[in-house]
Amino acid sequence: MMFLLITITFFMVKILPGNPFASDKMQAGAKEALYAYYGLDKPIWQQYITYLSNLLKGDLGVSFKLRSIKVNDIIAQSFPKSCDLGIRAIIFALVFGILLGILAALRRGKAIDSISMIIAIIGTSVPSFIIGFFIQYFFSVKLQWFPVSGYDNLKSTILPSFALGLGLLATIAKYTRTSMLEITNSDYVKTANAKGLSKIQIIFKHELRNALIPILTLLGPMIASVITGTFVVEKVFAIPGLGQYYVTSVTNLDYSMVLGLTIFFAAFLVLMNLLVDIAYIIVDPRIRLS
């Protein structure tokens, strides 16, 4: 499957119009030398085979625009930042989303239920970069509580993580609420009630554990949306993460970067989906049996 993906992406990038070197003014011969340096003078199938064999060694190639900088180095340098941001956003979303969902389900129809559903609707309908702008404007520009941009200390990570995580939080809260409500009516919760277990015990031991299973299925799509979310959130907060690099390479027509990063993102997502599937089997024994 990865192979198919790499092939498709490779040929898609090859048929892209435009030329990354077109804007450069060069002496005669320099261009040919450059083409030879990148192997662009060879026929496409030969380029393809070279690319594949390099890829097998884990080499994603060299950037067309940032001469002689390897795509691998860029990933190594900027991916940790994006990853850090993504993990913070997901943790923030999970903790508060589940909490809101539980509260909403327990106090169904009360104020907290309406509040959390309003948050859920706002979170799902306002794009993350717009949330980013709003909080950047109010908390950084107006109130000056947080730095406007950058990503080097704890304080500067709060706003980007919030912007990236709010959408996820909303989805998680919605799902938690729904599945908590469903589970409250299930037989095993009724049994637990009849046995005389305390409310807290029932919520944590019986309801929450089972309510979290649907949340786990959300993790795959969530990671995908975090990846695309980083593209814009990193741009809003000027964070030098991988998403930023992707966006710049797309606008600069730096095709080797686009190709390398697309393959990287796709491989990352496939790996994450695999991990989620495994986690799913571990958590829910019912799947293992069937």
Binding site: P127, E182, A224, V232, L253
Partner: protein
């Protein structure tokens, strides 16, 4: 129990009453006029205040996108450097931008483009999704597993990355963007329709219809289409904001709509650099995108409750 059946109360006895008995023809008559599925759904929808609010906000934006640009004597691309960077005034309701273009006209032309992309992309991807999903679900077997492999394959990758690549190939503009969104956006609809068709196939009424000798055409027309209609409409409503978001996202990262054309995503992107000096220029398109997406969300929630009462919680 009255002691004497003939005397019920003072002055009244059983001769005042007449035995009615059971009239078989009248008992079975349905008094209320029968309602169709959509009439019933509309009745449920009307009573949902939040959904009506969504519909109102959405109507406002649609009307403004159509008539907004006509309300001012300026065009979205008329630049006039003498009046650049003005703030709100009687002649320029939303002020002007750095090239002196009327911001009101730009906002509503942008709204036209954003909504157009949202609606057209949704219709196209919905059509492809419905066709593929129903073929897959209805015929099953090898066709089904082949089509579903493709869907799974495409779904495993971040879709905005694919859209970006497609747009790089097709070039920026409205039509390439709609095409790119269509090519990548039909997956969820195909899965949904397939699932729906598969579950309807198992329903007792379809089995009964088959047993009674109904042919395929009749089953599709009488059972499959009406019963999956609700889910499809709800899904379409939810895909419009998704497409609007994608437009905003792509224009924002600089490969979508290009100036001097206008779209909400583009205006956000241009407004970003002027956040500190002219925050309104960023705020207005942000509010437009958010409210439009919000209204579709509310509308979709309302439609889901109205069209499929089983799903309600």
């Amino acid at each position: 129990m009255p002691t004497s059946p003939s005397i019920i109360a003072e002055g009244i006895d059983c001769t005042d009453f007449e035995e009615v008995g059971i009239k078989p023809d009248e008992v079975e008559v349905i008094n209320k006029p029968s309602t169709t599925y959509f009439k019933d759904a509309w009745r449920r929808f009307k009573s949902n205040k939040v959904a009506i609010l969504g519909l109102l906000i959405l109507s406002f934006f649609i009307i403004m996108a159509i008539f907004g640009p006509l309300m001012v004597p300026y065009k979205y691309n008329d630049s006039n450097l003498k009046i650049a960077n003005q703030s709100f005034s009687a002649s320029h309701w939303f002020g002007t931008d750095e090239l002196g273009r009327d911001y009101w006209a730009r906002i509503w032309i942008g709204g036209r483009i954003s909504l157009l992309i949202g609606v057209l992309a949704t219709i196209l991807q919905g059509t492809i999704g419905i066709i593929i999903g129903s073929i897959s679900g209805f015929f099953g077997g090898k066709i089904d597993s082949f089509l579903m492999r493709i869907v799974e394959f495409l779904q495993a990758f971040p879709y905005l990355v694919w859209v970006t690549l497609l747009i790089l190939i097709a070039g920026s503009g409205i039509i390439p963007m709609i095409l790119a969104l269509t090519l990548t956006g039909w997956l969820s609809m195909a899965r949904l329709v397939r699932g729906q068709i598969l579950s309807i196939k198992q329903e007792d009424y379809v089995i009964a219809a088959t047993a009674l000798g109904a042919d395929r055409r009749r089953i599709i027309r009488r059972h499959m289409i009406p019963n999956s209609m609700g889910v499809i409409i709800v899904n379409l409503t939810f895909s419009v904001p998704q497409a609007i978001f994608s437009e905003a996202f792509l224009s924002f990262i600089g490969i979508g709509i290009k100036p001097p054309m206008s779209s909400w995503g583009l205006l956000v992107s241009l407004g970003m650099s002027q956040l500190t000096s002219y925050p309104m220029r960023l705020l207005i398109p942000c509010i437009c995108i958010s409210l439009t997406m919000l209204s579709f969300q509310l509308l979709g929630d309302g439609l889901r409750d109205a069209l499929d009462p089983k799903l309600r919680h």
